[in-house]
Amino acid sequence: MSQNMREGSITSDRIKVTTRHGNSFKDKLYLPAIYDGVKVTFKHLFKNLNNINEIDTMRYPEEQPQDISSRYRGLHRLTHRADDSIACVACFMCSTACPAKCIFIEATTREDGKDEKMPASFFIDTLECVFCGYCVEACPCDAIRMDTGIFALTGNKREDFVMNKEQLLSYKGAFGEECSCARD
């Protein structure tokens, strides 16, 4: 009662009094409740025994998920510009924003005259990564994206999961947008 009265504006006729359950003889006997419960579980058991392919479980390796949208945060990739050169300018925004501290960039001078800087090496440790997408948000050049649609990364040793620049550049976007949208 006092909890309801806390919001001063509630008038007394709007207070909802809930009855306490569990004090009747039937409830205390406990067996009718078990009977009701078993009825539910039995129903599910027989329904599923009767038609096992109706169960809404994805038979994973054979059936692949079809509901990965363009907003799904999959494995990262580094984008290209329209002229196929790397979009990243090694500004370290992503590695600064990264809460898992899993992006390791080494910058170098860019020789092709398109920008001042580019990454000499770009590593993402996907075992450390929490796939939060902050790096994508932070990037001013639209150079790092998570739109590859890759959701299951496998490898035989830990080193397999540390992505280098060449690997990250080689992934293609799964949802049509291929190049960096930041500049021309």
């Binding site: 067996l31 078990i34 419960g37 078993v38 539910v40 579980t41 039995f42 599910h44 058991l45 599923n48 025994l49 009767n50 038609n51 096992i52 392919n53 169960i55 809404d56 479980t57 038979r59 054979e62 059936e63």
Partner: protein
């Protein structure tokens, strides 16, 4: 001892060992599969040997291999008393296994005037044997918990001990009510008593003659076997794994298997005392033997129908969805299993045909009835095991104090009152 007696004894022992041990992997698989189906999941269904999955039961054998290959870990304070540490799970396992051995799988077989019990242990004090041996199992739990020198283990062991104190009483008292009713402590005689009728039409099964004692017996056995809703000794949410916390690999598997054997034993006891054991309702062994040809003809009609339903179910469900490209050999498996089932049916039909029309051998008829009763027993056993599993996935756990309260405040007085009531009725009937 005659040759027949020796053969029957060895066969019964082999059957008992098989029923107790071979049901472990099946029960473990069944638990996971039923849990999956109840929760609208699939459960383990992938493991196979050459494409044969048998619904995924192969998973249990893979699990055994996994447990065998696990690291053997001993707490550092165990030092060179490792055999003591290993003894604890063995006690639990062996006690559960031995308790199963007093259960009759079929009615007494009479060969040349000699009565032969179809039970691994041919004893006529089965109830006492069960009560005595099954209570030893908790010693292994207490032993292991104490030896682990771990607070969770010790707490689990203490809880297991207190559970036995509080639930052995209602269990014993409810069994006492059954002893008064049936006027015997022989499991087989109990089943024979239940093959009659009362009020003229109801089968005199324990659940109908002694409903209260039956419910107390079932609840107490759920508590005894540490199954949900009474998993206080290994409550994961409170004390990690209880007495099993320090146990790994096969030592853990021993406890784990012991639990399933205990569940199987509890099912067998409940069936034998409450659900008419190996009998089908209304029909006693005597009636089966006297009207053997009618019974055999009925079986000859029923078996193909059951097998047909089974095959149809298998052909419908041992498939993959149309969207899945490979079926992993399920089609082939279905074909082989269909062929096997049809072949077995034809074999049984041929034997029954021979028994009914060509041969008037009383011994062969008696053997056929015995086999039929064994099949009925196994079917009932598995059904009740599934009931155990369903209850686990239906009912939430009780708190520890609630468990004790149910045992002492409700079950014990009810069991006592029931004994007095039973005694009055039994004396009143006999006057």
């Amino acid at each position: 001892m005659t040759t027949a007696a020796i053969i029957i004894a060895v066969a019964a022992f082999a059957l008992g060992a098989l029923l107790a041990l071979l049901t472990i992997p099946i029960l473990v698989w069944l638990e996971r599969r039923v849990a999956g189906l109840v929760q609208d999941r699939l459960g383990p269904n992938r493991t196979n040997i050459g494409g044969f999955r048998l619904g995924g039961v192969v998973q249990s054998f893979a699990d055994v291999v996994k447990l065998l290959l696990k690291e053997e870990y001993y707490p550092s304070h165990i030092k060179n008393a490792r055999w003591l540490f290993m003894l604890a799970p063995i006690i639990t396992f062996v006690a559960a296994l031995l308790a199963f051995m007093a259960i009759p799988f079929a009615d007494t077989l009479v060969i040349n005037g000699e009565s032969l019990r179809i039970s691994p242990l041919p004893i006529d004090f089965g109830v006492f044997w069960y009560m005595a041996i099954s209570s030893i199992g908790v010693l292994g739990v207490i032993f292991g918990g104490w030896l682990s020198h771990n607070k969770y283990s010790l707490l689990g062991a203490a809880r297991a001990g207190s559970m036995v104190v509080s639930y052995e009483l209602p269990l014993g008292l409810s069994i006492l009510a059954f002893i008064i009713t049936y006027n015997t402590i022989d499991f087989n005689a109990m089943v024979q008593w239940q093959s009659g009728t009362f009020f003229g039409f109801l089968p005199s099964w324990g659940i109908l003659v002694q409903p209260l004692a039956s419910i107390i017996l079932i609840v107490a056995l759920f508590a005894e076997t540490n199954r949900n809703p009474f998993t206080v000794a290994e409550g994961e949410s409170e004390i990690v794994a209880g007495f099993m916390t320090e146990y790994t690999a096969m030592k853990f598997a021993m406890y784990f298997m012991g639990e399933y054997v205990a569940m199987n034993t509890a099912s067998a006891v409940i069936i034998t005392m409450v659900f008419g054991g190996y009998q089908i309702p209304w029909v006693s062994t005597q009636i089966l033997l006297e009207n053997f040809s009618v019974f055999a003809l009925l079986l000859m009609i029923l078996i193909p129908i059951i097998v047909m339903v089974l095959i149809r179910w298998m052909r419908k469900n041992n498939t993959v969805r149309p969207s899945v490209s490979t079926d992993g050999g399920r089609n082939f498996e279905t074909k082989v299993l269909t062929f096997t089932l049809v072949g077995m049916t034809l074999f049984i039909e041929a034997i029954l045909f021979y028994l009914v029309f060509l041969d008037e051998n009383f011994l062969a008829n008696a053997l056929a009835v015995t086999l039929f009763q064994i099949v009925v027993f196994v079917v009932k056993l598995m059904l009740f095991n599934i009931f155990f599993i369903l209850i686990r996935w239906t009912v939430p756990r009780f708190r520890y104090d609630q468990v004790q309260k149910i045992g002492w405040y409700y079950l014990l007085p009810l069991a006592l009152a029931n004994i007095i009531l039973t005694a009055i009725v039994v004396i009143g009937v006999s006057l």
